[in-house]
Amino acid sequence: MTWFLRRVASAVVTFLLATTLVFFLMRITPGDPLARLSEDRPMPPEAIADLRARYDLNSPLTSQFTHFLGGILGGNLGASIAQGGRSVNSLIAERLPATLLLGGTALLLNFSFGIWLGVWQARRRGSRADQWLSVLSLAAYATPSFWLGLALTWLLGVELHLLPTGFMHDPLLPANASAWVRFTDLLRHLLLPAITLSLATIGATARYQRAAMIDALELGCVRTARTKGLPERAVIWRHAWRNALGPMLALFGLWLPLLVAGSVFVEAIFSWPGLGTLAWEAIGSRDYPVIMGAAILVSALVVAGSLIADLLHRLLDPRLGTS
C-alpha cells in the first residue's frame, strides 16, 4: 500500500509540474492570443479590453498562474476564447470519446499484432523472414502517419471503394437505422484511421517484444518446460512470454504519448471528430485556453497510463510486492 500511495503522489506531482510547464510555455511564447480574434472581425478597443479583463490577461503572471492552478485542481480548464466563452471542459467532453475510441482501438491493434509479430520473429531469430520483418518494422516506423493515412485512403477508399474516406458516421444513414447498422457503420469508419494510427507503432512494439522474447527464451525455466514435455505452445507463451511481459509494460507508458500525438494528424486527415481536431481548430484560431486544456488533459492521460503500467507490472510479477 505504501508503494502505491507514493507512486500516486509522485504521479500527481509530475502532472502538476507538467501543467505548470504548459502554462508558462504558453505565456512566454511571443504572440498575442487576442490578435487573431480581432483579425477576423475588427472589434472596438473597449471590446478587446473587456475580453482581456474577462480572460484575466491583465493581471501579473503569478496571479494568473495561481488562478489557473486553482482551476485545474478544481477540475476546471477555463473558457474558450474563440468559442465565445464556452467552457473548455464541455468542448473536451464532447470530443474525448471519439479520441478514446480511436486511440483505444489503435492500442489494441498495436499490442495484439505487435506482440504476436515480435514473438514470431524471436522464435525464428536470424532467419530471412525475421531480418526482412525487422526492416519492414523500421520502414513502418519511418512512415509519417499523415502520409500513410492519405495513401491508405487513396488505395482503399478512392480506388477500391472499400472503406469510407472520412468522418465517423455516414451522414446519409436514415434516422431510424438499427443499432447494428450504426455499429457496423462506425466500425467501417474506424478501421482506416485506427490502422493508420497503429501501423507505425506496431513495428516498434514488435521490435521490443522480439528483443524481450529472445532474452526470455534463454531463461532456464524455458528449458525446464521443454524437459517436462510440455506442448510447445505452453513453453512459448506460459513460460517464455510471461517472463518477457515485464519490459513490455513499460512500453505502454511510452506509446501513449506517441499515439496521442499521432492522433492529431490522423484525426485531421480522416476528419475524425476528436481531441486532435479540436486542438487543430484551436491552433487555427489561436484559442489558447483550449490548446492548454487539451495539452493538460493529454498529460494527465500519459501520467495515468504510466501509473497503470507500473501497477500492472507489480501485480504481474510475484517477486515484487504490491504494498
Partner: protein, 280 residues
C-alpha cells in the same frame, strides 16, 4: 577521432547499417549537388503551361499544382529537412548530454530535481509542446523552428546519459582518477564522455529520424517550414486535394521521407546493436 572510426566500423559491419549509410550518403550528396542540375523549383505558374503533369521526360517526377518540378522540390526539401534535423539534434544532444552528466555525476538533490523536471516535461507529448510554442507565434523563421525542435528533444537523451554516467561512476577507472585528484570536469570530459559516446551515438541517430518526421508533420499542419521554401510535409499538404488525380505529387515527398528516415534508423539500429551488446 578514434570514436568516429569505431562507430563507422560498427555501422559497416551490420548489413542494414551498411545499406542505410549508403542511401544516406547518396541522399546527402544529391541534396548538396543536384539542385544545380535540376529545373528551378521556383518556376512560377505560366498561364499557358499545363500544371500537374505526370512524370515524364523533362520532369522526372512530374509537376505540382503550381507547375513546379516535383523532383527538384523534393531534392530541395531534402536539404531543408536534413539541415533542420541536424541543427535540432545537435542542440538537443548537447543540452541532454550536459544535463544528463550533471545529474548522473552530482547525484543527490540535484539529480532528483532535474529528473523530476524531465519526467514532467516528458508527460506532455512532444508534438503538443511544439504545437503550443509554434501556434502562438505567427510565422516561424527557420532558425526558430530549429531551436524549438531542439529545445523539446533533449529529455530522453538526458536520461540515457544520466544512466550511463551512474553506471560508469562506480567503475574502478573513475575511482582511480578521483583518487589521483583529478578535478571533476576533467573526469567528466576525459573519462566519462568517451564511454557514453557509444550509446549516445545510437540514440542521436534515431533522434534525427524523429525530428525529420516531426518537422514533416509540422509542415503538413502548416506550422513548420513556411512556403515557398519546399519541405516534404508542405508538399504533401499541397498535394492533398489532388490525391486521386495527381498521386505523384504526394507519393514523391512521402517516399522521400520514408527512405530518409528508414536509412537513418537502419544506421541508428546498427549502432544500437553494436554498442549495447558490447557493453552489456
Amino acid at each position: 577521432m578514434n570514436l568516429l572510426r569505431e562507430a563507422w566500423q560498427v555501422v559497416w559491419r551490420d548489413r542494414g547499417g551498411r545499406a542505410g549509410a549508403l542511401v544516406l550518403a547518396a541522399l546527402i550528396l544529391i541534396a548538396s549537388i543536384a539542385p544545380r542540375f535540376l529545373p528551378d523549383w521556383r518556376v512560377m505558374p505560366d498561364l499557358g503551361r499545363v500544371s500537374l503533369q505526370p512524370p515524364g521526360p523533362g520532369h522526372w517526377l512530374g509537376t505540382d499544382r503550381d507547375n513546379r518540378d516535383v523532383l527538384s522540390r523534393v531534392v530541395r526539401g531534402a536539404r531543408v529537412s536534413l539541415a533542420v534535423a541536424a541543427g535540432a539534434v545537435a542542440l538537443s544532444v548537447t543540452v541532454g548530454a550536459l544535463i544528463g552528466m550533471l545529474a548522473g555525476y552530482a547525484g543527490g538533490w540535484v539529480d532528483s530535481l532535474l529528473m523530476r523536471l524531465v519526467d514532467s516535461a516528458m508527460a506532455v507529448p512532444r508534438l503538443f509542446l511544439l504545437l503550443i510554442m509554434v501556434a502562438i507565434m505567427e510565422r516561424i523563421p527557420l532558425p526558430v523552428l530549429i531551436v524549438v525542435l531542439g529545445a523539446t528533444g533533449w529529455f530522453g537523451t538526458s536520461r540515457l546519459v544520466r544512466a550511463e554516467v551512474q553506471r560508469l561512476r562506480t567503475l574502478d577507472f573513475v575511482r582511480a582518477a578521483e583518487a589521483l585528484g583529478a578535478n571533476r570536469r576533467r573526469i567528466a570530459l576525459r573519462h566519462l564522455l568517451p564511454n557514453v559516446a557509444g550509446p549516445l551515438a545510437a540514440s542521436t541517430t534515431l533522434a534525427v529520424g524523429d525530428v525529420i518526421l516531426l518537422e514533416a508533420g509540422l509542415s503538413f499542419l502548416g506550422l513548420g517550414v513556411q512556403p515557398p521554401t519546399p519541405s516534404w510535409g508542405g508538399m504533401i499538404l499541397e498535394a492533398q486535394p489532388y490525391l486521386a488525380t495527381a498521386p505523384w505529387t504526394s507519393l514523391a515527398p512521402g517516399i522521400a521521407v520514408v527512405l530518409t528516415v528508414l536509412s537513418v534508423n537502419l544506421v541508428g539500429e546498427a549502432l544500437h546493436q553494436g554498442y549495447t551488446t558490447s557493453s552489456a
